[in-house]
């Protein structure tokens, strides 16, 4: 199968989660003011090495996610640089009011790290999925939402967040991600990264769905269709210029996200295009409003057409 061949051409990487943990350790070793706050989640957050190396810089609050975020805000208000780390599903639902009031409204630059986001926990079922997180946080003022695609973006996001003066939410999964090509080896929160350029169809994706979008672009190329792939790692604030430019260059836009089709990246792009009078074939690929398919992340992606082949088909139908 073409997809697999293409995958092999990419350099193997680690899970973004592992990159997060390594990056945080290296930052925290240099800055004693950095704290990781966990809710019995250091194992799933790959923070055991952090805890071993920097025991004074990890704060365990136990299985109490509301308290996790309240405590994180308190620590930040007293001058600490806080990374509050918890599975995205709990962090952005159980403690949503703490995110809204204690962090965003009170305006303390806490870094909220949603681990095993989207459907990473796959077979554990919908209790453990977070396909709502981007939507709910998009509707909360004063918080940035970043969904890194690969190891480079994950590392850069964690570093950028350490300097952020505003609250940031970062989500990623636990699957090993290959190193994606990109036009420029630069990174800035709020500035989309172009993975490859094209002129027929544009894939605007975020997080772990950038990879299948890129695979689709590779297959489309063989078929003589030129596809652009944009990693829209920052969903809020959206890089509006990047979206408008892609829609200008290409005849169709497909958004891809490991998230509900409601309220996520796709609707953010749709709203922007519509309000700018841009009308073109447009499709939001994500997880629909239904009892989510069961299985691993890969199986769920397969079911909802988030694979290179399925996205290629979607593009052929649209462009």
């Amino acid at each position: 199968m073409t997809t697999i061949e293409k995958k092999e051409t990419l350099i193997k990487g680690k899970a973004n989660l592992e990159v997060f943990s390594e990056t945080l350790i290296s930052l925290a070793e240099k800055d004693r003011n950095i704290l990781a706050v966990t809710s019995d989640s250091r194992g799933s957050g790959k923070l055991v090495p952090f805890a071993d190396k920097l025991p004074d810089q990890i704060v365990e609050v136990g299985i109490a996610e509301q308290n996790l975020v309240g405590v994180a805000a308190g620590l930040a208000s007293a001058g600490k640089k806080v990374y509050a780390v918890s599975p995205a599903c709990f962090l952005t639902a159980r403690s949503l009011e703490q995110i809204k009031n204690d962090v965003a409204y009170s305006d303390f630059p806490v870094v909220l790290v949603g681990i095993s986001a989207g459907v990473s926990y796959g077979a554990l079922g919908s209790t453990h999925h977070s396909i709502h997180d981007v939507a709910v946080l998009r509707a909360i003022n004063n918080i940035e939402v970043v969904v890194p695609a690969d190891n480079f973006e994950a590392e850069q996001t964690i570093i950028a967040a350490s300097k952020a003066t505003k609250p940031v939410f970062i989500k990623f999964g636990k699957k090993a991600m290959p190193v994606l090509p990109r036009l420029e080896q630069t990174f800035e929160i709020g500035k989309a990264s172009t993975i490859c350029e094209g002129s027929d169809v544009a894939f605007i994706a975020c997080g772990e769905t950038v990879l299948p979008a890129y695979e689709a672009a590779q297959i489309l190329k063989e078929k003589g269709i030129s596809a652009e792939v944009i990693s829209m790692h920052t969903v809020k604030p959206l890089d509006e210029q990047a979206v408008l430019k892609a829609a200008q260059k290409c005849k169709a836009v497909i958004t891809v996200e490991e998230h509900s089709v409601h309220g996520g990246l796709g609707e953010a792009c749709a709203s922007l295009l519509m309000q700018n009078g841009v009308s073109l074939p447009f499709k939001i690929v994500g997880i629909p409003d239904e009892d989510t398919a069961t299985g691993s992340q890969e199986e769920i992606f397969e079911y909802y057409g988030i694979t290179g082949d399925a996205l290629m088909e979607t593009a052929l139908k649209l462009a």
Binding site: L35, G62, A64, N67, G70, G74, L75, S77, A78, D102
Partner: protein, 284 residues
């Protein structure tokens, strides 16, 4: 910090109550009963304990006050004005379009540490600040004011467990124990009792005080934290609507706004108390 006599603080409490009613009356909105019940607590904290002034507010090592029962913001606004954070006349804009003096605390107001108003947030936040102080080996204290109805929020208990676990003896939670919430008494709505035993079981040092008695409050707040390694829980027994007899212990005054007639009555009663206390002062 200027040292006030008990009598001077008693006079201040009456002045605060007069002022907060005035601004609630102008705004035609406010949380009257709970502001009146915690007035003496805020008075003693700001005039005798915290040592927070507009000049020291930027200090990393300042004592912190987090008002978890954010709805009683009128009492806080009046006290902060008295402390010089802004002119009291600013409060004429309370709850008006374009005013930063909204109906719950926000950091846009000088002197306020956190945006509160959703109940159940102050204790986790305060535990976080107290933990930061421990990490920094700083000796400031963190005070937070909770409502008794508010205790039903589960997040309090998450923080209560954690504060004891981390031995946050620099943390003092004060309960405005007026025994009323919106719908009725705490006992009727969803009983929090026995509050003292619960906090003791959670590993806290618990003390009880008459929360409308300046002398008692001063003694208690000066003494805390008394026990090394334990956070302190102060059950301050108060009267909701304190100082205005027809508002006292009446649930409807939770967010009742007085009519012109009721306002006159309230002013008369409080001014009478003010005269009585001032006469004692002159006699001293």
């Amino acid at each position: 910090m200027k040292k006030f006599t008990d009598l001077e603080l008693q006079i201040k409490s009456v002045e605060y109550r007069l002022a907060l009613l005035k601004y609630i009356k102008i705004a035609k909105a406010g949380h009257t009963g709970g502001s009146l019940s915690c007035t003496d607590i805020l008075n003693v904290l700001y005039n005798d304990v915290l040592d927070v002034t507009p000049e020291s507010f930027g200090d990393k090592n300042r004592n912190r006050y987090i008002q978890s029962k954010g709805h009683s913001v009128e009492a806080l606004y009046v006290v902060l004005a008295d402390k010089g954070f802004y002119p009291e006349s600013d409060l004429e804009t309370l709850c008006k379009g374009g005013s930063k003096y909204v109906g719950h605390p926000t950091r846009k107001i000088p002197g306020i540490e956190f945006n509160t108003g959703a109940l159940g947030h102050g204790l986790p936040i305060s535990a976080g600040i107290a933990l930061a102080a421990k990490k920094d080996e700083a000796d400031y204290k963190v005070f937070t004011l909770l409502g008794d109805g508010e205790l039903a929020e589960g997040s309090n208990w998450e923080a209560a467990q954690m504060a004891a676990h981390y031995k946050l003896d620099n943390l003092v939670a004060i309960l405005d124990h007026n025994a009323l919430q919106i719908t009725g008494t705490n006992r009727e709505v969803n009983s929090p009792y026995p509050i003292d035993e619960k906090f003791r079981a959670f590993g806290w040092h618990v003390v009880e005080v008459d929360g409308n008695n300046i002398t008692e409050l001063r003694k208690t707040f000066q003494a805390v934290p008394e026990v090394k390694g334990k956070p302190t829980f102060v059950i301050a027994n108060t009267v909701k609507g304190k100082g205005v007899s027809f508002m006292e212990n009446e649930k409807k005054w939770h967010h009742g706004v007085p009519s012109d007639e009721q306002y006159e009555l309230a002013m008369k009663e409080l001014n009478g108390e003010l005269e009585r206390l001032s006469a004692i002062k002159v006699g001293e």
